[in-house]
Amino acid sequence: MSAALLDHYQTLAATAPKAHAYQAVGQRRLSLVELPNRKQEAWRYTPLAPVLDYQFAAASREDGLLEPEDVAALRVTPADHVCIVLLNGFFMPELSSLPAQTGLEVLDLEQALQTSATGIERLGRLSGECLHLFGAVNAALTGAGVYLRVTEKLVQPLELIHINYSFDSEVLSNPRVLVQVEAQASLTLIEQHAPFADVLGMHNGVTEIFLSEGAELLHPRLQNDSLRTRHLSSLYVQQAASSVYKNTSLALGSAWSRTEFHLDFSGGHAHCELNGFYLAGEQQMQSMHLDVLHSVPDCSSRESFKGILYGQGKAVFDGNILVKKDAQKTDARLSNDNLLLSRDAEIDTKPRLEIYADDVQCSHGTTVGQIDPEMLFYLRARGIPKAAATSMICQGFAAELIAHYEYPALETKALSILQERLAPVAANL
């Protein structure tokens, strides 16, 4: 089976239209790569059948058909803001709203490659040799996606909506989002993975973010794919001196999801904040992987992740902070808290620290538990029914992280999805 699957992806890679030299890296990797398996540390605990049992077809620009009204219903930003829609990974100008804005350049990735847009040569610099099969597939099929370049401090947030919806359901979308925030510029990039139809497809996205000196990027993400979709997002971020990156990622939807954060600092006094929340219920599998590399001195990072599990939900948290020899004065804190609501849920977590410098402050903390009966008692003593109290406690647990969105419309949306998913669970506890 494994040979057939590799063959399948190799054929896809060989027949893909040539858009960029980086595709060769992906192709080469595909001929060497081993299928992900649980013996590999990076995939330990991750059930792989949901993604390896299918031979997904590559999505094309012609798949799916949407009307601008369909998109309007999904948006959280006002209509006059920039909103980019990627359908099955492909940039759809007719669905997007693209008012001209100074300091912002939005290009279809394919077009950016053809016209050699400024900074596009950085494509593939961070994802490099591709970590695994799906990274290689994405690289080999490079073409779909969007290129963003910011040269000023932008006040208006920019929205990016991914929709997976095709006539043939089992397709693989392979977007690559390349973000370049120039020195002293700033941007808020709201990213949504929205469900449109209940399709069994796979999202295999790679995002590369370059922050120049003093640049700032606020990056709230909401993954709410349909419950049959498979979702893999690999984020690569490189931060130059004094830059700030703040990511808040929610994983609520999809049958199987994996979010990878690869973060590296190239200059001092940069700060990064990664916040994450996952909801794993029914038969969902949610996983979060952090790979934070402190290779230069004087940088700080905060990683804070929480999860709620119910039904037969399963979650994997795998966080690694590596502090290299010269990265003195590093300050890194990692925490992971989990709430288990059901008998059949399972959480596997491994928060790791690897430290080769001595003048550092590093810590990690992990907790796993159920709802504190005392909290429940407190609320019930005040006349709140059990189901409502349970739901309230869960909301409170999640709300702390969701507040990091710093964008009320998105917060409201996330909380209402959470409420909708948790209400029936709380009622049956």
């Binding site: 596997d348 977590t349 491994k350 430290i355 001595d358 810590s363 903390g365 538990g369």
Partner: protein, 482 residues
Amino acid sequence: MDAVEQQLAELAKTGYEAGFVSNIESETVPPGLDESVIRYISARKSEPEFMLEWRLGAYQKWLQMEEPDWAHLKYTKIDYQAISYFSAPKSAADAPKSLDEVDPELLRVYEKLGIPLEEQKMLAGVAVDAVFDSVSVATTFRKQLAEAGVIFCSISEAMREHPELIKKYLGTVVPQTDNYFAALNAAVFTDGTFVYIPENTRCPMELSTYFRINERNTGQFERTLIIADKGSYVSYLEGCTAPQRDENQLHAAVVELIALEDAYIKYSTVQNWYPGDENGKGGIYNFVTKRGVCAGDRSRISWTQVETGSSITWKYPSCVLKGDDSIGEFYSVAVTRGAQQADTGTKMFHIGKNTTSTIVSKGISADRGQNAYRGLVRMNKGAENARNHTQCDSLLIGDKCGAHTFPYIEVANPTAKVEHEATTSKIGEDQLFYCRQRGLSEEDAVSMIVNGFCKEVFNELPMEFAVEARKLLAISLEGAVG
């Protein structure tokens, strides 16, 4: 007179038990490992037939296994065919004739630890037959233990005298094919300790290998089996604070603990094998598999370790908490300096209801030392109301060392509660300044801060051991700061 005769008889007997009576010089098997070596070892130790089969089974499995490479360790590959798997004690000709021939550095450490001269000779491997004081102490202890019904003997002896216990328990906690090093140990182990505490017995004294004189030079592939029957208690001490002379580079020991209902086993280790020169050359490779099963309800197993020696430490004393309300504990101080590397930690498997485990791990790295904590806490589906608290702290001294934490947490029961915290920091300059300002020398100040850092673990050690461990730590870190 009777007492003396009895002592002599005992002495003669122990000499025989260890498996060498005469012809000491010719008792080394040439290097290499195959079935014939295992047959030879088994025959030499007059083992029952089932043991030979057990060993051969382990060997066959070992051949198919691969040496694990997941640990955070770097070392030159071990050539298993270059090791001699059965060697009697080094002949008198090889050993130093007197303390004058012993490495002065070693003597200086003995001095600092306050070890009596006779004991120094024994530890340094000076060719004396035996230290009489120790022998008499050992035999007196044996008598007292026998009265209580406690069996405390070498594992070879146990195989001959108590085969039913060996058959019932050996390999039940660490199966012969558990891992690469455990399989190797199962195939070739030469000796070790066997302890059986009968029902409702509190072992009258702390048991220590230190008093078992028939154990010398069998440390390479040691196997320890401790069984605490219902309602019993035993505290077992392994190793000693003084650096011991040892000829073998590879150590692959296995320790199995079994605690039945209401039993409590407390296992303390101080490991201070030779760490090698400043580049780690010649140091001991310590690959140990230690595991205990809390088989009965309300049983308890507590591991305490102070690891300061060896160039490579690969060691994860674990607890399988099968019985309801059982308790597992792991307290560890690991020090790495020079080129030492340690990858150590624990595994706690919660199977029974209301099981509790506590993990406190303190890692100290200095110079170029690399110290990793690797731990697993597994809450099975049936582990109702299980609790775990883990704390691992690392202290870094110097900018070339490393401290790493690799905790694995798996929870499959919603009523289980797991907490894990880890911190890494260095000795604060403000802390040092504060102490120095009050007239403490820098060395004393560091020793005080480090001892404070390790206090929670030292508190778990038996008293005499704790005092020695404190001194040992101070010596281990001598000159690391400044």
